[in-house]
């Protein structure tokens, strides 16, 4: 997969609390802005729920590429939902994923923040590129930017928090994680291409979904 779901026990309890607190602040801000804009926002809720279901379901499918990869399609979620609803969606996907053991419950905060970076940057990059380039190219570019930023965010989160029980310095942890980022980017290229093809297909079937 293009990003690692950090497992329970990787961070100390203090850092678990810190990442949860930041995520709660982000969620409260998103919910507050949502309510101020449209108090009921029924269609937004229903669309977010359905996209969340698709994102979680696609993750359960092993693609027979390079021996088997799993994709969360967070960039695609971000492009279709936008940053606000996208952040709510990745939070719920992380809760579901934790329930089946992919990512820790304690680290839902850190994992959701990493995914939120992917969702937000993919959306913004797609808005920037779409129109100047074709839908496929914009989708690939947006997904790659989002996933690259997600990888960087993950490394920052791990380096800042440190691995529980390790005596390595932050710079040593950083150099250990560089290799992981390289592997991540390789899978990100596949996820980016899938995102590009999916968006090109969406544009043919429902162009209104990309214009709104």
């Amino acid at each position: 997969m293009a990003h690692i779901h950090l497992p329970d026990g990787a961070f100390t309890i203090e850092w678990v609390a810190v990442w949860w607190a930041i995520l709660l602040l982000v969620l409260i801000t998103v919910l507050f802005r949502m309510r101020r804009k449209d108090p009921s926002n029924l269609s937004g809720i229903a669309i977010t729920a359905m996209i969340t279901a698709v994102s979680f379901a696609t993750f359960q499918i092993s693609l027979p590429l390079l021996g088997g990869v799993h994709l969360n399609l967070t960039p695609l979620v971000g492009i279709l939902l936008g940053p606000g609803l996208g952040i709510l969606s990745v939070f719920i996907v992380n809760v579901f994923s934790s329930a089946i053991g992919h990512g820790g419950w304690g680290l839902v905060g850190a994992n959701s923040l990493i995914n939120s970076v992917e969702v937000s940057l993919s959306y913004l990059t797609f808005r920037l590129l779409n129109g100047r380039f074709g839908t496929f190219s914009s989708g690939v570019g947006a997904a790659l930017v989002g996933l690259l930023a997600g990888s960087i965010a993950m490394i920052v989160v791990i380096v800042v928090s440190g691995i529980q029980g390790s005596a390595l310095t932050r710079s040593e942890i950083f150099s250990n994680l560089i290799l992981l980022a390289g592997v991540n980017l390789f899978v990100a290229a596949i996820e980016g291409t899938v995102t590009g093809f999916a968006l090109a297909y969406v544009k043919r079937l429902r162009p209104d979904l990309l214009s709104n």
Partner: protein, 266 residues
């Protein structure tokens, strides 16, 4: 129960639901409130316990809970693959450069010296025990708790509209997964899985996922209209109130919580 997921190492949502709805073990009959409270304790314990032997005891405890729920161990080993791969992805290199007593030393290509330290191995072992403890307990929890009770608790715990998104997404995950599996079967029956080439395969899967996303928008539009027609008032009503926790269960919960808190403070 036929397994419908396309990955043997990913917990099958249908199978999980089958066990949750049809099981009748002691864990199935326990209060869902209590099971969620114990989840909190397991997370707290895995995050705060430092001694390897205590972590091993915690892992064995979660395995006992899993078996008491009459759930299959042969699937559990396969389901450990992805969580374990996450740990290795993060911490594998620590085995080689974690400072400490040298455990093994190898000279590769007559020049490059690789050493494995005892502390690095212990770090990796602890991480594996921590992660697999929560994975095992978490799977025990969702495989023994009915869908309706999970939704009831989510409705209480999560703020609006996150609770509505959670309940709808959970409900429709089964529908969407079924739809994607049907698309993959259709592709396979036409010989589509014999296609080779990275770009061709990604185009095929991109198309399948796009169909799932477009259908989800169509479905969301229908759901919105149905909710409006029914006079939706910010919250989906859930009526399956979980049973009250037993006195013994509560007592154990409090004692363990005190022990962990004491350990954390001291």
């Amino acid at each position: 129960m036929a397994r419908t997921s396309f990955s043997s190492h990913i917990p099958d949502f249908y199978l999980i639901s089958y066990f949750a709805e049809n099981g009748n073990s002691i864990i199935h009959r326990s209060s869902s409130y209590l099971k969620f409270a114990y989840l909190f304790l397991v997370i707290l314990a895995t995050t705060s316990i430092q001694k390897t032997e205590y972590l091993l005891v915690l892992f064995l405890f979660t395995l006992v809970v899993y078996r008491l729920g009459n759930m299959p161990l042969n699937l559990l080993w396969r389901w450990y693959l992805i969580p374990t791969s996450f740990i290795f992805a993060i911490a594998f290199l620590f085995v080689f450069n974690e400072p400490g007593i040298q455990f093994l030393s190898l000279t590769v290509l007559s020049k490059v010296k690789i050493q494995i330290t005892y502390e690095g191995l212990v770090l990796l072992l602890r991480l594996i025990l921590r992660t697999l403890s929560t994975v095992t307990y978490s799977l025990s929890l969702i495989m023994t708790t009915k869908y309706s009770e999970i939704c009831y608790i989510a409705n209480i715990v999560l703020p609006t509209p996150l609770n509505t998104i959670f309940i709808l997404a959970y409900r429709f995950s089964f529908v969407v997964l079924g739809e994607i599996v049907a698309l993959l079967k259709a592709l396979s029956s036409r010989g589509g899985d014999l296609v080779r080439g990275l770009m061709t395969q990604t185009r095929i899967f991109g198309g399948i996922f796009a169909v799932a996303f477009v259908h989800s928008f169509d479905r969301a539009e229908r759901i919105t209209k149905a909710m409006e027609a029914r006079g939706f008032e910010r919250r989906i009503p859930t009526h399956s109130v979980p049973g009250r926790p037993s006195l013994l269960g509560m007592l154990i919960l409090i004692v363990v919580l005190i022990l962990i808190t004491y350990g954390l403070i001291s």
